[in-house]
Subunit: 241 residues, 2 copies
DNA sequence: TAGTGGTCTAGACCACCGT
DNA sequence: CGGTGGTCTAGACCACTAT
């Protein structure tokens, strides 16, 4: 435990305990330096971590103010389905419904940054949360990871963890969120009515070296998972660029 | 322009120009200090701003690596519908369909942090993007802003801007994203079929002093707007807590 | 072992805010 | 004006990574 993270945790606790109410200001950085007996840089490091989570915000010449009493998990911390579940003390499961190899479509090739005439792996996977099927995951895997995906057991709980074991670190994901009507296949596998609303998340995951790993399309049963985002409004609160 | 933001901008330009490819490493912090003739703290401040945008990430003992060449707009920059539209060079419109005063429900009172037996303002508003109706906005306004909302013209393009003119700065918004089926009313106003899928965003907006301003529920026509999030994966890349 | 990023110190000057 | 946060310096020691 570093000093600044201990200070951040303590300040967070004091906010949750009500010592610093929403809308009120924190002690000045100088006072915090004295109180925690550290340098100003360390105090600012602690405050920055709370600011990054939108718990507090600073006003030049005035002080640090409390935005919220709750720590809300934003997309910052969203990674893989399984990782997310673990962090929330839920058990994530998965089962491959089908795995095939196929020629990539032109759209896919462009998205995968792959040369023409490549064979990709296509998978359909049911995913559960606490033993309840809540999501259907359709993935197209880039040729260079297809064999790794092939070798995974049918009930692997996390493909991201499986890839990591093979030395493929997923570091970057872009999510696009939309709403769609359930297809017949969706409805049957997820146990919902046809054309009932599903939350669809299109993902593009990238490895550390920049290569595209997977094109994913997840369809969630409404109510099973809520995507939550906390954002500070106003204009350009972040310092730079 | 501060030094660190200038350095961040320069590094970003060099990444975009291809001098540092995706997956490759940046010069070490020490080299960057020499190159830009600044102290290490300044270099790290610059790198942090790029890291916050998921453009680069660090590996202890190894160096800084380029994640992506693109700057992707995430929810960090999401504020009000109108502000978002303006930033994307789209024209946002709005029209109040109804405005009423009503007793707050118990759920609403708790969410608004309001004492019992308060009268809230309830509004239903159609919102357009480039002259197309794409969203239906149901809002419950806290008692202390109800009169401000009452005084707004029917076709006000941005209630957030209207509130700001009255001295109410919205600084904090929590979004919860789900999928729902269109009700009869939704279908009629948005021009879609009943029970067709809509993207629903529940919002809680808060003023600078911590008071809750609005409870909102937005329903988007699919395809009109895509919510996009870019996130770095891996395990707890952020320092603390 | 040499080089890297992660953390920390003890100062400094500045722009901005309220009085 | 005094107090606040924003930026910056010139060091230091540590944990981790590669060779």
């Amino acid at each position: 435990m570093t000093q600044y993270s201990a200070i951040a945790a303590d300040l967070r606790r004091r906010i949750l305990d009500g010592e610093f109410a929403v809308g009120s200001s924190l002690p000045s950085e100088a006072r915090l330096c004295v109180h925690y007996a550290v340098s100003r840089a360390t105090v600012r490091n602690a405050l920055s971590t709370l600011q990054a989570r939108y718990l507090i915000s600073a006003r030049r010449g005035r002080g640090w103010y409390v935005n919220a009493t709750e720590h809300t998990q934003g997309f910052d911390h969203m990674s893989s389905f399984a990782q997310w579940a673990t962090e929330h003390h839920l058990s994530a499961g998965g089962r491959f419904v089908s795995r095939d190899h196929d020629r990539a479509s032109i759209t896919e090739l462009r998205a995968l940054h792959s040369p023409a005439d490549q064979t990709v792996a296509r998978t359909l996977r049911l995913r559960s949360l606490d033993q309840r099927w809540v999501m259907l995951e359709r993935s197209t895997w880039a040729p260079w990871v297809a064999s790794i995906v092939d070798s995974m057991p049918d009930d692997i709980p996390s493909t991201t963890a499986g890839l990591a074991e093979s030395g493929v670190d997923v570091v970057f994901t872009r999510h696009r969120i939309e709403a769609v009507a359930a297809s017949s296949e969706d409805a049957q596998l997820l146990g919902v009515r046809r054309s009932s609303p599903l939350l669809m998340v299109r993902r593009l995951t990238t490895a550390r070296d920049g290569r595209v790993v997977e094109l994913g399309e997840d369809r969630y049963v409404p109510g099973s998972i809520v995507f939550e985002v906390t954002a500070s409004g106003g204009i350009a609160r972040r310092g730079a660029d």
